[in-house]
Symmetry: C2
Subunit: 154 residues, 2 copies
Amino acid sequence: METAVEFRNAVREDLDRIVEMLADDMLGKERERFEQPLPNFYIQAFEAIEADPNNELIVACLDGEIVGVQQITFTPYIARQGSWRATIEGVRTAASVRGKGIGRQMISWAIERAKERGCRMVQLTSDKQREDALRFYGQLGFEATHEGLKLQLE
Amino acid sequence: METAVEFRNAVREDLDRIVEMLADDMLGKERERFEQPLPNFYIQAFEAIEADPNNELIVACLDGEIVGVQQITFTPYIARQGSWRATIEGVRTAASVRGKGIGRQMISWAIERAKERGCRMVQLTSDKQREDALRFYGQLGFEATHEGLKLQLE
């Protein structure tokens, strides 16, 4: 029996918790700066996402507490007969709730949201070091047909 | 010596040529419908891209002819200290100009544009069947650190 979570758009007051979850991660702990007060670059990013109708930062809540976060970007493309795609990024669940099916509900929610927005594909990239995540997405029907290539700019 | 190409934002009059290039491709030939008049879904997609300040459809021109196309999407993320990323998609060069360094100039242009827009990463996914493309991106410094996962809807 899965624990049922609720989903909503993140608000500014959620940002501390979101950054805390991003930092509490195998790869994120090296990349993020979870400090009080929160560094301004996180606030600027939040405001840019909030202002963009093609980006949604979604939190998953359980008994009023945030236990998950993900960002969904909706993009129109000429290719594939002018179809829109949804890209999921920054998926994290709180360590305290792992194994309760919350990640599965988050991705299922994102897929339904993508359909509502008229997308014909949902896509994401996942670091090859995240073996559990790759297995998880495979179980949800995602196919690893592509290489995910990254180039860091200083 | 590379042939120097010029870059600009695509306009509506370029769309036939863009779809023609997308269709003239190992994978695109199965996916696209290059017909006259152009199916309306391509026109709607073009208009959606044109209206979105975080999407740019770029054509590469040689002696006034379009010889390449790519789309760049700029996305703000909370992760990685609130950094923006540029995602390149739908990269195609005309069959007639392959081997002239045009693809390399297109990606170099996209990287510079990403820097102008304040991005800290350039990313793309490439079908694992496109062995030449994967080698090409590796030569340009991209690292295949991620799996690119796709889920088709309906």
